[in-house]
């Protein structure tokens, strides 16, 4: 990564990684999930993953359609349960690389309990969580991540619930690698996904991804320029956030409200379930 990223062309990606017969995708104009797929493939290429030995797992929702487009083993599971299916794969065959695509509703709403326990066990997998603040596939209902006051088809008067910060949760649970980036530029997401794949243990990369069709149009973020400007204006690098919290003026601190921290939240080491199980078997096997 140090020498910089070699961006693959669409034709190269198609030939090497994609399942031709699945195209065109189901994604709407302006959707950011295609970017997430691009970044993931660039990262895979960077790491040099063997796609014959990699399984892509997902739950239900727009982002969970991604494994279908990749020419590899894929398990498009039930709603919210991607991590449980992935845990079975890793526990039964730790030689396989597992990459999970999930959404904010799938991964942190209905699947929140599995997120908690898969991180606690520290199973070695890379989870790319596409957060678009809404349930896009069902037409834009409120999600656990919908911003305070955000409009959705089930919060027509504005969201009154506090949104969940998935990365802070993952960090607190001890996930060895946690990062959040908006899709607006490729470099940091690609780097983080590659680091996540290389990390031995649970890696979570949350991608802030626009959904103009279901969320954007209800919240003044229908046009791509508006959306991408919003992400630039509403995200603050972790270092800067901490600096403002410590040394900023009251006005600067007030300006953090409603914004999202981005960056690498955690990068550490922790023994995995798989390693501990292998050690247990080595000890107890007859």
């Amino acid at each position: 990564m140090a020498t910089g990223l070699r961006i693959k062309t669409a034709a190269e990606l198609r030939t090497n990684y994609l399942r031709r017969e699945m195209f065109p995708t189901i994604f709407c104009d302006g959707c950011g999930i295609g970017n997430v797929l691009n970044y993931t493939l660039w990262a895979i290429d960077e790491v040099g993953l063997d796609l014959d030995r990699t399984v892509f797992v997902s739950g239900i929702g727009c982002s969970s359609r991604l494994p279908g487009y990749i020419n590899a083993d894929g398990l498009h599971a039930t709603h919210g349960r991607a991590l449980a299916f992935a845990a079975g794969i890793r526990a039964a065959n730790p030689d396989l690389t597992v990459i999970v695509f999930t959404g904010d509703g799938d991964g942190a709403g209905i699947g929140g309990n599995h997120l908690l326990h898969t991180i606690r066990r520290n199973m070695d997998m890379t989870v790319i969580l596409v957060n678009n603040f809404t349930y896009g596939m069902t037409g834009g209902q409120s999600a656990p991540t919908t911003p305070d006051g955000g409009f959705s088809s089930t919060t027509p008067y504005g969201n009154i619930e506090h949104p969940l910060d998935i990365c802070e949760l993952a960090k607190a649970l001890g996930a060895p690698y946690v990062a959040r980036w908006p899709v607006v530029s490729p470099a940091q997401p690609v780097k983080s996904i590659a680091e996540g794949i290389r990390k031995r243990g649970f890696a979570l990369i949350e991608m802030l991804t626009p959904c103009p069709t279901a969320y954007g149009r209800r919240n003044g973020l229908k046009e791509i320029e508006q959306i991408w400007r919003w992400y630039r204006e509403h995200t603050v690098l972790l270092d800067e956030w901490e600096w403002v919290e410590q040394f900023g003026s009251p006005e600067e601190r007030e300006a953090l409200r409603g914004k999202l921290k981005i960056g690498v939240f955690q990068d550490t080491e922790r023994e995995t379930f798989e390693d501990r199980w292998a050690a247990l078997v080595a000890r107890e096997r007859l």
Binding site: D52, V55, L75, L83, A87, L96, H117
Partner: protein, 392 residues
């Protein structure tokens, strides 16, 4: 270095043991080649998980306790797609939670075995008391049109043997198979003889061999598609959506859905000869029959003997495979007998497919008992005697 079979023998211990039905299910699984178990504690099924947690590391397998039964069933499916033989165990409340992923396993043709040690419901009910209240949930619990295979052993020995059969059917037909016992049989201790390897057959799922011609859901001669485990380079996409024979989603196509769902049902209903299991006592000259299954059938065996001593031409049809329902077997009995007594540890569940199979050819009388107690021989004998005076 020991072979895997030798490891299994050493892990299981002595050939003759005095163990519970739950233990026998675990032993049967290990003998069948199960190397992966995911589960969640629940009375009266917990001992199955405990035995697996003890045995699996000793034979190089994997046991994982999941956060709930939904996750257990999910992990089972993930593990099965790596090529492992897999099992979970639960009781009524947990079986309810497994229904969605059970349907996923049916739709994606994922071999797996689910043991349900039934207790009384609805809801939390009577956690430590036996019941057979999930018989219809097993058949229709998951949404959508489907067939399911369910087996009901009646003794500790049979629990072991039937669990092996369950694995074989699950592998051969690539579908979930349910082994249903109850809290009484699950916790009852009996003499168990662990069979030698040459005393039972083991079946493996059909495997894909040629990558070039591989189409993951194109059925073979048995209506069962050959399997390619994750990581074998065959690059299989597995989805619960309606999919074509290449495994790709075709969720809006009536034709693809119709063809897929009918094949999934037909691959089970066309193998009745492989699945159907039952036992008959005094079938030839029987006038009043008892049709029973599970632990209830054990009482009935004695009841029939006693009835014979009293001059009643009684007989017993003990169903071992419940789903798909052995309609032809019950229909054959219906042609010969005047009446059928159907004792069940529920308010009447299998009596419904029995009535359907009988189609009015004889009297069908349910004898329901709930609350966790078994039917007594005396009350069943009395019921048989009363049926004797039923007009034909």
């Amino acid at each position: 270095m020991s072979t895997h079979r030798e490891l299994i023998r050493r892990a299981l211990g002595p050939r003759v043991q005095f163990v519970q039905g739950d233990d026998a299910c675990a032993y049967g699984a290990v003998l069948a080649g199960c190397t992966f178990f995911a589960g969640y504690p629940i009375t009266p099924a917990t001992e199955v998980a405990e035995r697996m947690a003890e045995i699996l590391p000793r034979i190089g397998g994997c046991y994982i306790q999941m956060e709930d039964e939904i996750a257990s069933m999910g992990a089972l499916i993930g593990a099965s797609w790596t090529g492992a033989k897999v099992m979970t165990s639960t009781s009524g409340p947990g079986f309810s939670l497994m229904q969605e992923n059970l349907g996923y396993a049916i739709m994606t043709e994922t071999p797996c075995v689910v043991v349900n040690v039934q207790r009384s419901g609805p809801s939390t009910g009577q956690p430590t008391m036996g019941a057979y209240g999930d018989m219809m949930q097993a058949r229709w619990g998951t949404h959508g049109d489907h067939e399911i295979i369910m087996l009901c052993p009646a003794s500790v020995q049979e629990a072991l043997e039937i669990t092996i059969v369950a694995f074989n059917l699950s592998e051969q037909l690539r579908t979930p198979v349910l082994v249903f016992i109850d809290g009484e049989l699950g916790h009852m201790r009996e003499r168990l003889v662990i069979p030698d390897d040459d005393e039972f057959e083991l079946v493996e799922r059909p495997r894909a061999t040629d990558r070039a011609s591989y189409r993951p859901f194109a059925p073979g001669p048995d209506l069962v598609p050959p399997f390619a485990p994750f990581g074998s380079g065959f690059r299989t996409f597995v989805t619960g959506l309606t999919h074509n024979e290449d495994g790709l989603p075709r969720a809006s196509s009536a034709a693809v859905h119709d063809q897929l769902v009918r094949r999934l049902a037909a691959k089970i209903t066309s193998h009745l000869d492989l699945i159907t299991r039952y036992e008959e006592f005094y079938a030839d000259d029987c006038e009043i029959a008892i049709v029973a299954y599970g632990i209830t059938a054990r009482t009935c065996r004695d009841v029939v003997e006693e009835a014979r001593r009293r001059g009643i031409k009684a007989g017993l049809l003990r169903l071992i495979s419940i789903w798909p329902f052995p309609e032809h077997v019950v229909a054959r009995w219906a042609e010969r007998v005047r009446a059928m007594l159907v004792p069940e540890m529920n308010l009447g569940q299998i009596v419904h497919p029995i009535r359907e199979a009988v189609a009015g050819r004889c009297v069908v009388t349910p004898y329901a008992r709930i609350g966790g107690e078994l039917h007594t021989p005396a009350e069943l004998l009395e019921a048989l005697e009363a049926l004797q005076w039923q007009p034909a």
